[in-house]
């Protein structure tokens, strides 16, 4: 009884806290929290696409270790680390909210309110855990062990979604968006977690190169590159299809998205196979 009361009080205070956020709460009152979350999903998606491209650009300097080490010197400045921690918020939100949408659309979970609550709770827990790990610094976790566990979990999520949507009438592109989404739901938060578990490994080019030369890690990196770039590309395509009226403009933009995605894929594969 008491536990229920406390829980309700906690939830009420979270909701009333959210309702105080200016601008956002106005939209929530007009169109509902789902609508606000959907906009957050779109905006965080775009932020993450830009971050992905920037990340690949940074990694491409592994070919010249001095440049990489110089860049990492900047990346590990305390203020930048703080922003890196903050940047985990869009990552985990986009991942978990995407998971919620997959459950809603393909698995018949219509219990929205509790799904939204769980999305927000889990986001909070993840961000706190990440903060603690950043604070504790190097935990020296084995890359192969960590990724073995995480890739199995990511593939299991992807297979679960694939089994559900594969036979449906949807286009292959739509299906792949959901399947890669389920894969990345675990793989990307894991990727972030790993980099904060072992910051020293990411700091020096030699250590990064040594890790990336392991064949299993190469497979992980290829899977990450393929799925993130596909997911990002289809996400951008979907936004363009929603808002651009003129067919010819949509075709041109889709073409640009494909070309940019392929260029970044080549960059990513070059990093994986020539290092």
């Amino acid at each position: 009884m008491n536990a229920t009361c406390n829980k309700n009080r906690l939830e009420a205070s979270i909701l009333s806290g959210l309702a105080k956020i200016p601008f956002v709460s106005g939209y929530a009152r007009t169109y509902g929290w789902n609508y606000v979350l959907s906009w957050c999903h779109r905006i965080t998606g775009i932020i993450l696409v830009l971050y992905l491209w920037f990340h690949l650009y940074t990694l491409s300097s592994l070919h010249t270790p001095e440049v990489y080490n110089w860049k990492m010197g900047i990346m590990f400045m305390p203020v930048i680390v703080f922003f890196a921690w903050l940047s985990s918020i869009p990552v985990i939100f986009h991942a978990l909210n995407g998971g919620r949408l997959i459950l809603y659309e393909s698995f018949g979970s219509r219990n929205d309110e509790s799904m939204i609550r769980w999305t927000l709770y889990l986001c909070f827990i993840y961000v706190v855990i990440l903060g603690i790990l950043i604070f504790m610094e190097n935990q020296t976790v084995s890359a192969v062990f960590f990724w073995l566990v995480m890739i199995v979990a990511s593939l299991a999520a992807a297979c679960g979604v694939a089994a559900r949507v594969w036979k449906s009438r949807h286009t292959i592109f739509w299906k792949l968006q959901r399947i890669t989404g389920a894969f990345l739901l675990i793989a990307i938060p894991a990727h972030l977690l790993f980099s904060h578990l072992n910051p020293s490994i990411a700091m020096e080019a030699d250590l990064v190169i040594a890790r990336m030369q392991n064949w299993f890690i190469k497979i992980v990196d290829v899977l990450l590159a393929l799925s993130t770039l596909y997911h990002a590309g289809y996400g951008l395509f979907s936004i363009a299809e929603d808002y651009i009226k003129l067919r010819i403009s949509r075709v041109v933009i889709s073409g640009v998205i494909v070309i940019v995605s392929v260029i970044f894929l080549v960059v990513a594969l070059k990093i994986v196979f020539t290092i």
Binding site: Y31, G32, N34, S38, W39, K167, S168, E241, I244
Partner: protein
Amino acid sequence: MADNYSITLDIKRYDPDTKKTWFQSYKLDAGRILRFVDLFRRINNEQDPSLAWGSSCEHGQCGSCAVRVNGKPLLACELLVENAVKDFGTTKFRVEPISIAPVVRDLVVDLEKAYEKVHRAKPYLIKRAPLPPQSSYYQLSPKEIERYEDATRCINCFSCADACISSHKNFIGPNAAMASIVRLMDPREEEKEERLKLLYSEEGIYRCHSSKACSFVCPKEIDVAHFIALAKEGAFRGDNGE
């Protein structure tokens, strides 16, 4: 609760002759159970006969009075002054036409244009299943009807289309999609394929991102997003490899 309110309506005007758009402010003292259509009528009678707005049944049954009040699409014939003050927490209201079709004048939009999408979704049985032997009518079980009964309450007010995150540029719209989905769920409809083709096209369910604004604003309290999600889920014969 007050009996009278001093209300300010900032109404978006549009003059098709000059192509000019502007906001015009009207102040009124209004009783608590007056509806927004009553306020528009009073403005016509007492302040400005040139203000154009639309309504027909004035009983929440035709959808022709949908407008945006402080950003929210709703039926002006259902919105009482006291509810508006309570829900929006103000006595000042910005009233605009809904955005789903070109504006004809002031708050009146070209509903013919808006209805084009609904017509494309064919909101009727395209091919009726043959009647059961020795029967002059179809009998649907309550269980069958229960699955889609809610959706049949739609009055095509286009509030859902106005609120949709996906915009209405390339999307057939939540109400039109639902009109087709209802007939997919109707055991009397035999033409499933044509309906599925529309729903699985680029202007169909791919434009829906489950933002659920449609369900949130629907004045008939239909969970529109649920019906569209059923289509995404592959809940009908023929859309899941059957």
